[in-house]
Amino acid sequence: MKLIKFLFIGIGFGIILVKAEIVSWYRIIEMFRFESFHMYGVIGLAVVLGVIALQIIKRKNLKDYEGNPIVIEPKPKQYTRNLIGGIIFGLGWALIGACPGPLFVLAGFGYVSILIVIVAAVLGAFLKGILVK
């Protein structure tokens, strides 16, 4: 099964989000109120190490596991969408205290109400596709 490795990476992702309290509603509101370093530390360090890792991948011309060159597509330059969409997401992130990753982890953790949030999020993505493509 080629997909099984993604299941295991996902399990690791879920566990780290719980163990570092990234799934905590309180940690997110605390971040937006600038009252703790925790979330800034998590995201900041991930980005710093991510920049270093991607530079190594690019400069050494590393190949992926199938032997294909690794070319990371640039993000489309849609600054208005990035900003407006970002603001809309930010409002929801602070209110619900979870971004998309944690939503699924919290569902697995046993919070049934989160399913309402997930369904609403899929509907939001659906309406975005209908209204603005």
Binding site: A20, I87, A94
Partner: protein
Amino acid sequence: MEVLFSFWPWYVAGPVIALIMVFLILYGKRFGVSSNLETACSMLGAGKISDYFKTDWKSQKWNLVFILGALLGGFISRQFLMTNETSHISVETSAWLTNLGFKNAGGMFLPEEIFAMDSLSNPKVLFVLSIGGFLVGFGTRYAGGCTSGHAISGLSNLQLPSLVAVIGFFIGGLVMAHFLFPLIFPL
């Protein structure tokens, strides 16, 4: 063994998350959770309503498997990796939330005022859950990514659109956390 049952600090979580992004890249994929919301629409037949969703969602199956794994990770943590640990959110945040009517400010992991099953009979709670989810789904897809796709992957790849999106995340989050919360809560 004790470490398995306690909370982990930011300097453990940051490297692990970077590692997850790198693993996915080395497997020829890209770290981004919110695209699953669109994949779910395509999978559920949204292509019949809009061509936008007429995509080959099967090529994204790996990402659905990834979030299924994340869900399992949540389950495993709850079943096997929890003891009576306590979360240490800041006293300022905790006091501010108590003022807004949150009884157990700083508990694990979600406030019962919004997420407990018996709060669902309150229509305002249902509204908060639905509108919050809607904003997350609509906003991430309009912005072209969420925390994983823009804040982690995009910034790691020095992408200006991702920086703009992350600035947006914070504008929205700050407005909610500083101005709108006192208008919304207590529910």
